[in-house]
């Protein structure tokens, strides 16, 4: 203690103190800073694999360093969640130039390849991570329904049936979309969709919305043709064309003399 006190005016002391302070704040920041959650910790090997896949399949449009070209946006900072959503739902690689990428059930890459690609893109800049399983469950359906009707229903319809946007674009139907992809779409805002980050709809709210949509999927048909269950438009169309057509057919039969 005495030796320390004796050297407190040493010219190097200020440097030592400064270094200690910086180390402490840096260490504390690393410990306490909000971490972007990773479903599986990506290794350097994953990143290298992902880079190879990227250069072979994506770089033509997105650029050799994913910096973006005239044909495709930059992928720096879009995060692993964006890759997992776009490639995991079959939207990317793009089937052809169009106003909007379409969902496709035939995925071009395996789950581990998608993970590698996501790890590579995530290594380029910080962005939303792939959500963990625990973030997708435990939602409240009623609360989710309220959030959905305020924030999502104007485009996706109150039953998640989807709807039209401007100039050929559309909001897709949300039936049978996995909770992970719903979450990723909210945090990344793919294509025309705005971003709903965690300060807008918090994690619990996102879990609630997922619970609501999965509840809709489990809703069973009590009978009859659903006609999309979107209300009076499809039902009215059906009644006016088929119902009245049938009545006209019977009227013609009634009025015709038998042979």
């Amino acid at each position: 203690m005495n030796s320390l006190a004796a050297r407190r005016r040493h010219p190097a002391a200020i440097v030592v103190i400064l270094m200690l302070g910086l180390l402490a704040t840096g260490g504390l920041y690393v410990l306490l800073s909000p971490k972007t959650a990773q479903a599986a910790v990506a290794t350097a090997d994953d990143v290298n694999q992902g880079k190879k896949l990227f250069l072979a399949n994506c770089a033509t449009c997105h650029g050799l360093k994913a910096q973006g070209t005239n044909d495709a946006p930059s992928l720096v900072g879009v995060g692993a969640a964006s890759v997992d959503f776009q490639v995991g739902t079959g939207r990317m690689p793009l089937a052809g130039p169009n106003v909007q990428a379409h969902q496709s059930p035939k995925l071009k890459y395996s789950e581990s390849e998608i993970r590698d690609l996501a790890a590579y893109i995530a290594s380029l800049g910080p962005g939303p991570a792939i959500p963990e399983e625990s973030e997708l469950t435990g939602g409240n359906q009623a609360k989710g329904g309220e959030l959905f009707r305020v924030n999502c229903a104007m485009c996706h319809n109150f039953t998640g049936a989807g709807g039209a946007l401007t100039r050929g674009k559309f909001a897709p139907a949300l039936d049978d979309v996995s909770g992970k992809h719903i979450y990723e779409a909210m945090v990344t805002g793919p294509q025309s969709m705005p971003v709903f980050n965690n300060t807008n709809i918090d994690k619990q709210g996102k879990a609630d919305i997922i619970a609501y949509l999965q509840g809709l999927d489990e809703n069973k048909n009590p009978g009859g043709i659903t006609l999309g269950r979107i209300g009076p438009v499809s039902e009215g169309l059906f009644a006016w064309t088929f119902g009245i057509g049938l009545l006209i057919g019977f009227a013609v039969w009634l009025g015709r003399k038998a042979a």
């Binding site: 807008n200 069973k220 009978g223 659903t226 003399k257 038998a258």
Partner: protein, 365 residues
């Protein structure tokens, strides 16, 4: 009328007065007209009923028997469906779901009950129609119609009864009763008219011009009603916003219908209107969500094109150009809410809406 220049006598063609042309070849427009004389006969002859054509079943016993069998088959189908209905009612558990063609996964009990019941009703109806059309008599029958007017004697009797009643009531002799009754009945119409006019409600006053928003009102999320920090709103985000304290107003839903706001953050470089930039906060802009066409909530924000679309009539507003109407029936741009941040970093209104929100109305023009 004739196409070979051979005139026939008719009411419109007095003989020898009309020049005839060969109309099988092309004619100039001013030739070939037939001038009528306006001669319409006094009365057209009754053409009578067309000759009756018998049906197959009327003279062919085989066809009649065939028709009988067809009708019986339709009734039989109905009976079978009814029996099937009862069987399904008891045999199929009510909570069983299974795949049904054209319908998909559905409650099998409800579907089978509906289908069998409709077939049984349809069978009865179609059988009855087929029976009537093939076997019931179809000869035209003349039904004589008699005059509806009562005998002169009865008519006078009715008038006499009425006059006698009036005399007995002394209405002609006692004008006081006559006029007070008339007045009472006449006044009775007033409450009906008063209710109609009086129930039109109070005039809206300045309600169409004002909303809950005023300087200093914080922006809160719908439906949680939590305030929003400027840092919460990342580029590409859209927030559904209500004014703070809207839940404390007398009619929150009425207020929401005017005060709902959409908050978006754009890259300030994308915003072309200086006024929009000035009224926003570092690219965070707030616009009324009430369409200026007929007041639907405009919520379909495309974050890449920055178009705001109204779902009702496809009015499209460009958020980069101060919500200018670029398509559809809306008459004027969406009103912008001027926003700023308070000392805690929360977004708040810097002024009320500068113009009435929502559709145009008479006084506004």
């Amino acid at each position: 009328m004739t196409d070979n220049g051979n005139p026939t006598q008719g009411p419109h063609e007095p003989d020898g007065q009309v020049e005839r042309f060969d109309t099988s070849t092309a004619l100039p427009l001013d030739q070939g007209h037939i001038v009528g004389t306006g001669g319409i006969p006094e009365q057209f002859a009754n053409p009578g009923l067309p000759p009756h054509v018998h049906r197959m079943a009327d003279h062919d016993e085989g066809a009649a028997r065939r028709a009988e069998k067809q009708v019986a088959t339709l009734f039989g189908i109905s009976a079978l469906a009814t029996v099937l209905f009862v069987v399904c009612y008891f045999a199929i558990p009510r909570d069983k779901f299974s795949f049904i063609p054209l319908v998909g996964q559905a409650n099998i009990s409800h579907v089978t009950l509906g289908v069998t019941l409709s077939i049984s009703l349809l069978g009865i109806g179609m059988g009855a129609i087929h029976w009537a059309k093939t076997l019931m008599p179809d000869t035209e029958v003349v039904e004589e119609r008699h005059t509806l007017r009562s005998a002169e004697e009865d008519r006078h009797g009715a008038v006499d009864t009425l006059l006698e009643g009036g005399q007995g009531a002394q209405i002609a002799r006692r004008p006081l009763i006559k006029y007070t009754l008339g007045g009472a009945l006449g006044l009775f119409a007033i409450p009906l008219v008063v209710q109609l006019v009086g129930s039109l409600g109070p005039a809206p006053g300045d309600e169409l011009y004002t909303t809950v928003w005023k300087k200093g009102t914080r922006l809160v999320r719908d439906p949680e009603l939590t305030p929003v920090k400027a840092t919460d709103v990342t580029i590409g985000s859209v927030f559904h916003i209500l004014p703070e304290g809207i839940d404390k107003t007398a009619y929150p839903m009425n207020e929401k219908a005017k005060a709902a706001v959409l908050l978006m953050r754009l890259d300030p470089k994308d915003i072309l209107s200086q006024k929009e930039l000035d009224w926003g906060y570092h690219g965070i802009v707030a616009y009324s969500q009430i369409c200026t066409h007929v007041g639907c909530p405009v919520g379909l924000y495309e974050q890449q094109t920055h178009h705001l679309l109204c779902p009702c009539h496809q009015s499209t507003f460009d958020v980069t150009q101060d919500a200018k109407v670029i398509f559809g029936p809306a008459g004027h741009p969406l009103p912008q809410l001027k926003i700023t941040v308070d000392q805690d970093g929360y977004l708040m209104a810097d002024a009320p809406f500068a113009e009435p929100v929502g559709p145009s109305f008479w006084e506004r023009g």
